[in-house]
Symmetry: D3
Subunit: 196 residues, 6 copies
């Protein structure tokens, strides 16, 4: 039995590049030049330019800042919480980024399915426990959770970073599930062969 035709990038209308405001078009073109394709999250969210701008400003503020977490660790938080939220787009797209950042072709599938069984350090495991609690039961987060992070050498600013990334992808995962956002075919194979 043959598979059905792939879904479009979004269940909502997807704008053409030429119809977009210049700043959005430029951001998309820059991503395309760097990656070789336009990730569907850009096309799906461009349907709403004001929300697009805020979304990516927020994303960059959390994912590209300096701080106590490596870029790879930030992606671990994204992939682990997106797995718990059953968000296909974010698991596939950020899984690719995580593999590349960590130069580890196995890490994304491990973290997405069950971070407790991943080949990560105890410190990273504690980081993901905190992130998972923010993702699933943030109303129970309290002093004991911050203390547990401190026990692994995380500062309270690191705790903000961990929690804020989990919180931002609580939004992002819900937008992807709302819009039926489809991961681009390109992501699946990225970073799956170890770097030399």
């Amino acid at each position: 039995m043959s598979s059905p035709a792939p879904r479009p990038a979004s269940r909502f209308p997807v704008p053409e590049l030429k119809d977009l405001p210049a700043d959005i078009r430029e951001r998309i073109v820059a991503v395309q030049e760097k990656s070789g394709f336009v990730p569907n999250v850009f096309l799906a969210l461009a349907h709403r330019p004001a929300e697009f701008r805020a979304f990516f400003a927020y994303h960059d503020a959390l994912m590209e800042k300096e701080g106590g977490l490596t870029k790879g660790e930030r992606e671990m938080i994204v992939v682990a919480t997106s797995g718990l939220n059953q968000c296909q787009y974010c698991v596939v797209a950020h899984g690719a980024i995580l593999r590349i950042r960590e130069k580890n072709p196995l890490i994304a599938d491990q973290v997405a399915t069950n971070f407790r069984k991943a080949d990560i350090t105890p410190r990273q495991r504690a980081m993901l426990e905190f992130a998972a609690k923010v993702a699933l039961r943030a109303y129970e987060v309290g002093e004991a959770d911050f203390a547990a992070l401190r026990g692994h050498g995380f500062s309270d600013e690191d705790a903000w970073d961990i929690g804020a990334i989990a919180a931002f992808f609580a939004l992002s995962n819900r937008m992807a599930n709302l819009t039926d956002m489809r991961p681009n075919d390109e992501f699946y194979l990225m970073g799956r062969t170890p770097r030399k």
Copy 2:
């Protein structure tokens, strides 16, 4: 037994107005002049200026746009999903705004506790059912949920609005619980006496 001292605005450092970037200070001063006080969400998030800017840009894009939902209905979505997420700051602060927008001193407590029992229209009830599903089980949202909204006269653009507001407050509620954000005392009494 006397109550303990009230918590501060946030468990993280709260900046002084004079130390903030000009654009953030100006936004805060404008809110203060309009409302008579500075809601703690501005102080708590100003600890991270880049995140502050993105957060409020996103908020305004969803809550102040034109569209098929009234401003009161948008606040209903905020209050209902924040109740489900056990977010004290958002229930208290947006409850105040909801009472004012709807000129209804009872609506916020009704919607926050159990929207299924609130004095709202069947159309608004369907709107909140959709929002609650995005808040709690977005991975199950599908065509049948959009069809249910259409049956109440909502367009698919309205569905985006409903879902996106629920998604944005999934982020906001988690940030408030992460930072122990405290609702200002002023919110509790706002809008509790009917407008003449």
Copy 3:
């Protein structure tokens, strides 16, 4: 869009005072004289006189007895567990009583939404953790939970009080949701201005 007409006190028939047995009528008249109105729980439950008598006898046995818990603390238990059970009537009505008992206009909304973030003492927080466990997972309550209460100076008789109040409002919350019991308009504003 105007709000729909408010719901009646109950989805079941509400008796007229003159048709009620004398003892029930007298209790209701006494409440009316003291409060200035008849809380809808009296009207909704008077539909079944025998159940009415048992309900209020049980209520009084728990809420008006002497013991290690203040009357305000008992109301905290009611409001916290009713919030977890999404019971609009009990959150609104007992929220009013809690504000009055504690002379604190903020406490009810804090406790109803997320007791872990309320301006209460660590002892009261432990009390509400125990009550929440009885409300949601009583089958897991065991020796460790009693020991935690003892660590905050509660006797085992206090533990019975805490657990029994949570258990009684497990009943009460279900009756309110079953009957669509509507909180009276009067409750919403009671106790919202601080006592001098």
Copy 4:
């Protein structure tokens, strides 16, 4: 390995009959004469005479009244919801009563474990679906649930009965788990051989 000594009737002090108020002692003696033993719920709750009186008045108002449900059906509701609430005392004690009322030695174990697979009528199955919803998610009970009962010939007064029994045993199950109430050995074998 031999089993440990059986637990006492309650983790709280159990009064001696001679020390109880006359009305409570008389009720207990009457039960003892009829049943041949004193069910532990009487001893455990007699620790608090005012609560004892209200509890049994409520119990009798619901379980011994006239109405559209047979006494056996009322016990089905008790056993099904007590199973969902993991309440050992009520499953064992009311399981015995259910077997006797229905003259069916199999019914209690079936209903306690999974009422959907029990040898009951479709009407009784609908009754237990309603009761289970009141027990576990009363905040979602609404018009559609009442309509489903009407489709099986239940009146709205019957719906009150079903819901109120589930609500009362929400209380009762929590008290039993709070007090570690132990089912008497006598219950286990009662009604297990079919009546001739």
Copy 5:
């Protein structure tokens, strides 16, 4: 109102003994000769001979082997996890075996409803806590859970036994619920009178 006719052994076709492969027929006849009746699990699963053979080979490998757990303790694990999985067939059938193995007419109903309140040793309680975690949240099982078992004198081989029995009955309980497997009437009364 009379009860409906009892359900058949399975919602799927039940083969006649004479139509079964010889090895399966022999096993069934042997059970029948020992027990006096054919437990319905044999008839229901015989619909698929290859699955039947694997199922009982697995069952015997876990339940009849030597090791640190008594046969009664193995049945406790079956009954406790089958109760949590709401599996009527396994609670009733293995409840009977548990009563016989432990020579204790009360143990099965206690463990099936709430193992935390059963008359068992602290060691057995720890065993059932581990089994319940494997049954309900196996993805969270980790080193701390093994350490807790070791603290009660269990070896890691015992931990495998406990977890594997819980895992096998995760399968068995699902097959029983899938096939509407009906417990034989004979099980209900077995082992209910103490052995002399």
Copy 6:
């Protein structure tokens, strides 16, 4: 930060091939010759030869039989339910097999994360809804679920297959999480480039 050393195949002792019973060694050698490596599930379960034999006999009876489901569809059931059970070994290993069976490099990650958003047919979606219900809430499976499958052309024998595969992997997923079974590195890249 470098990743920690990879976990071993199992937290339990892993036997050497030469020490295994002949039939088990032969099966493992056959797999090794066909696949080029020994999947860790064979090594981890060989610690218990009797359980090993029953496990693979059961697996083969379900996964290699004739019937209304394609081999690819059977793997979809494995991957979807293993994702819901957060089982890393089964998602990674059976994800590889699913990609190969379906000649589709994208399908496994889609189905593992959220089968409702996968590029599959409505009939396959219905199949996975049934499987997910067996995996998570088998006690609620009933006639309506079988009827839904029939509406998509599945026979009741197909329903047994779907449910039995979900049930067998309820066991398998729990064994993998119990033993900390580690997916072999080889699985991650298998089937990720489309067949010509």
